[in-house]
């Protein structure tokens, strides 16, 4: 037996399992099922597999409600990533992943390994990753610690994504003090494949071999999964051992070799799975469970970077850049040779069995022997939910912005970190490697062409968590709607969703209610849009010292554009083009950027959202782009009409002259379901004909430096150069300020 490990009795008496996240009831259940005391290793593997991060035991009852089937879905939730049919025997694969806790502890490596992990999810399905996106939340940019986290996270995403050669093409970043002690780092990856290359993570076929591929196992991130499933206390420094270091160079070798193996040896590869949370343990046991089989592993064969590693450490290590392959018995050598010729470890570490047992051997001893099904099915927990008290107290009245000095208000608004251009940050990401990026960061959705076809994929991540704070269900609906508006602005049709559900502790009934409501809201709009939720990630316990973050369900959406030459961009194209507002502007100020800016907080009943209006507006934009009527299209979100107009102007380096038949404050209203478009004089008649009263003409695109905005109450003059400079540079100024 390995030294220094507690005996089964000591495990029971010291209750070390509590430290690992197992409850007394769960421990008792294990004893009952095994009809004996679990030993140290067994207790460890149950704690890993039954952590929320791996088992979703707390969120599953809610996640089950997700709608995830339609005519395109080839693979829904349950595998490494979801897959959608995009015609021509091709498929798009995507998923999101969170690395919130690691990124707080260790911003660079936390974010870097987040990118590495989500990419493995994609290529383990047999797909070539083609793009990465990110969704980030930080505290306010007014203190050194937050800046340190921002710098580290951005550098980490860049460090991994750039090196492995997958472009980071889009994302979103916002700042709010609720994230100061609990930043959010969600990454999404998108891959492309031929449908016949599809792989699943299953361990089928008695006697087939389990092959370990990639980096050696070290002591990094031991039991990171249970670490991700616990709340932070800011005084607790001991959690810091759970840091993993990434090696994008090695992952590139693993990725290329894995895809080559799938191309060349699909007849002998039975299953592939990456090692993510709970490492070798969860990948191997889940593969066995999905196939209804058992597994025998010989841990002495596991390639090890460090000496003296125990079975517990080997199983729960979250060392990066590792994969598990199941290969037909007798055919292993071809796979081993392929990986070894790329200078990678590839070792047979075990076999598939038919006895349904998860059995680990170490130094000629059986160190764990438990039923696979039991191990991989944590006892469900139905948690109580209750409407958060704050919701009942919000007033119905919409916030009334102070319009004392409109011009000043616009300039101050443009400098808000949530509004200002994020280019000072995303310029660190290689957004163009692979040479397929048709729309780079800085527009609405990103657009990636599919070589040798006319098609392109649009992609975006979105959520305005302030809206969810005011109304979880409505806010979640708006998040899906906004993501879709971003996709539609490029001319692409939304086809599917991945999500990253970032919430506080589910043990708090109010948080659990928020989660439930958010999922319902996402579902409602997803069905209307025919965009099934095919994958996602849950990150709970995003609390520091009892303070939960805003409910932040990141929506990652992918769209399909059948003819890339019809792609439409944010930027105004030509002076003389007509500018239109599509959609109606209402009193939508509670939860808005201007409310936050002028009052320092978010308050009141969230303004309304009508999904029929939304769908109609989107359909109109799609029709107009399909007929090539638009020279630019940009959806409106945070900051409202004035911000949307200015963004199109900045992107095209052109000014505009407009008259808005509304009072000043409506320049800042965040009414959803709206777009700003520009239309050339030749297309004007056709456009107005099909638009009817859906679009309101505002004015024209101009070339000089002067921007003129006339409302029913003011004449506002802005300088393109000056305003653009504020918009472009504000984040850099804040980052560099003392």
């Amino acid at each position: 037996m390995t030294t220094n490990e507690l005996s089964p009795e000591e495990v029971r008496d010291t209750k070390i399992y509590l430290e690992w996240g197992l409850t007394d009831q769960e421990y008792d259940l294990i004893v009952k099922e095994l009809k004996r005391l679990p030993n140290f290793t067994e207790t460890g593997i149950f704690s890993g597999m039954w952590s929320e991060h791996v088992s979703y035991k707390k969120s599953k009852p809610i996640l089950r409600k997700f709608w995830s089937t339609n005519e395109r879905v080839l693979q829904g939730p349950g595998e490494g990533a979801g897959i959608l049919d995009i015609g021509d025997n091709q498929a798009v694969v995507f998923k999101a992943e969170s690395h919130n806790h690691p990124s707080f502890v260790e911003p660079y490596e936390g974010a870097a390994t987040g990118v590495g992990g989500i990419l493995r999810d994609i290529f383990s399905m047999g797909a070539q990753p083609v793009a990465v996106l990110d969704s980030l939340r930080f505290g306010e940019l007014d203190n050194a610690h937050t800046k340190h986290i921002v710098d580290g996270v951005i550098a980490g995403i860049a460090g991994y994504g750039n090196a492995i050669g997958i472009p980071t093409v889009g994302g979103e970043i916002s700042f709010d003090s609720v994230y100061a002690g609990n930043p959010l780092v969600n990454v999404m990856a998108v891959g492309l494949m031929d449908q016949n290359a599809m792989q699943v993570g299953q361990a089928k076929g008695i006697g087939n071999s389990i092959i370990y591929v990639g980096a050696k196992t070290g002591r990094d991130g031991i039991n990171g999964a249970s670490f991700a499933s616990a709340e932070f206390s800011s005084s607790e420094a001991s959690d810091r051992s759970a840091v993993q270091v990434g090696d994008p160079f090695l992952e590139k070798l693993v990725m290329d070799a894995t895809l080559q193996a799938i191309r060349e040896h699909s007849d002998i590869i039975v299953g592939i799975q990456d090692m993510g949370a709970a490492g070798l343990l969860s990948s191997s046991s889940e593969m066995a469970a999905k196939a209804g089989m058992g597994i025998n592993l010989n841990l002495d064969m596991v390639p090890q970077r460090e000496t003296g590693m125990t079975p517990y450490e080997l199983m729960l290590s979250e060392s990066q850049e590792r994969m598990v392959l199941v290969v037909k018995k007798g055919e292993e050598q071809a796979i081993i040779d392929l990986f070894q010729s790329a200078d990678l470890d590839a070792v047979i570490i075990g076999q598939v069995t038919d006895d349904g047992r998860y059995r680990l051997n170490f130094k000629n001893e059986v160190v764990a022997d438990v039923p696979v099904d039991f191990l991989t099915h944590a006892p469900k927990q139905d948690l109580p939910m209750i409407e958060p008290a704050r919701l009942a107290n919000f007033t119905d009245e919409q916030f009334e912005p102070d319009m004392g000095n409109v011009k000043e208000t616009i300039l101050t608004l443009l400098a808000q970190p949530t509004i200002a251009s994020k280019s000072a940050l995303f310029r660190h990401f290689d957004s163009q490697v692979r040479a397929d990026t048709a729309i780079k960061p800085g527009g609405d959705a990103a657009l990636i062409r599919i070589r040798d076809t006319q098609k392109a994929l649009a992609m975006t991540t979105d959520v305005n968590a302030r809206y969810l704070y005011l109304n979880p269900r409505l806010g979640a609906k708006m998040a899906v709607a906004e993501a879709a508006r971003n996709i539609v602005s490029t001319g692409a049709k939304p086809i599917g969703i991945t999500d990253g559900l970032n919430f506080g502790s589910p043990d708090n009934p109010e948080v659990y209610y928020e989660l439930d409501q958010a999922v319902s809201g996402i579902n409602d709009v997803a069905k209307k849009l025919n965009t099934p939720i095919i994958s996602g990630n849950v990150s709970l316990y995003n609390e520091t010292d009892g303070q939960a973050i805003y409910p932040t369900p990141m929506i990652g959406m992918v769209g399909l554009l059948e003819d890339i030459t019809k792609a439409t961009r944010t930027a105004f194209q030509k002076a003389g083009d007509n500018i239109y507002l599509v959609g109606r502007t209402k009193d939508s100020f509670n939860g808005s950027e201007i409310q936050k800016m002028q009052t320092g907080r978010i308050d009141g009943q969230l303004f309304d959202f009508n999904d029929e209006d939304e769908l109609a507006a989107q359909q109109f934009i799609l029709d107009a782009t399909d007929r090539r009527l638009l020279n630019s299209a940009h959806d409106l979100s945070e900051g409202g009409l004035v911000v949307g107009l200015l963004e199109s102007a900045f992107a095209g380096n052109l000014s505009f002259d407009i008259t808005v038949d509304l009072a000043d404050k409506y320049l800042f209203s965040e009414t959803p379901s709206r777009f700003v478009v520009s239309v050339s004089p030749e297309n004007r008649t056709t456009f107005e004909l099909i638009a009817g009263d859906r679009a309101t003409k505002l004015g024209t695109v101009t070339t000089d430096d002067a921007i003129n905005i006339t409302t029913t109450t003011s004449d506002i003059q802005l300088s393109l150069g000056e305003t653009k400079n504020i918009y472009q540079e504000s984040i850099a100024w804040k980052l560099n300020a003392e």
Partner: protein, 89 residues
């Protein structure tokens, strides 16, 4: 003026991909006797302080705060009194 020479290395359990790549390259280049390579960082900092105690605590404090990542790295340092215009190498 004091000169601190600070040597930062990874903790033993932390993956050092650079060291591995360099070792493999040296092997390819026929340096056959190489057993292990690790790469760290080396800082030279010139600072003013009233005495060696002040300099010591300044160096330790700034190294902990900025130069190293306490999760993954460890360090040692030498401190010496130098002339104002001595060239740092």
């Amino acid at each position: 003026m004091y000169l601190a020479k600070i040597y930062v290395t990874y903790k033993p359990s932390i993956l050092d991909p650079q060291g591995e790549v360099i070792k493999a390259a040296l092997k390819r280049m026929d340096y056959s006797g190489i057993e292990k390579v690790s790469q760290g960082k080396y800082f030279e900092i010139k600072l003013n302080a009233i005495d060696v105690d002040a300099a010591t605590s300044e160096v330790e404090s700034l190294t902990d705060a900025l130069l190293i990542n306490q999760n993954t790295e460890t360090y040692r340092y030498d401190l010496s009194l130098v002339d104002e215009d001595e060239v740092v190498l």
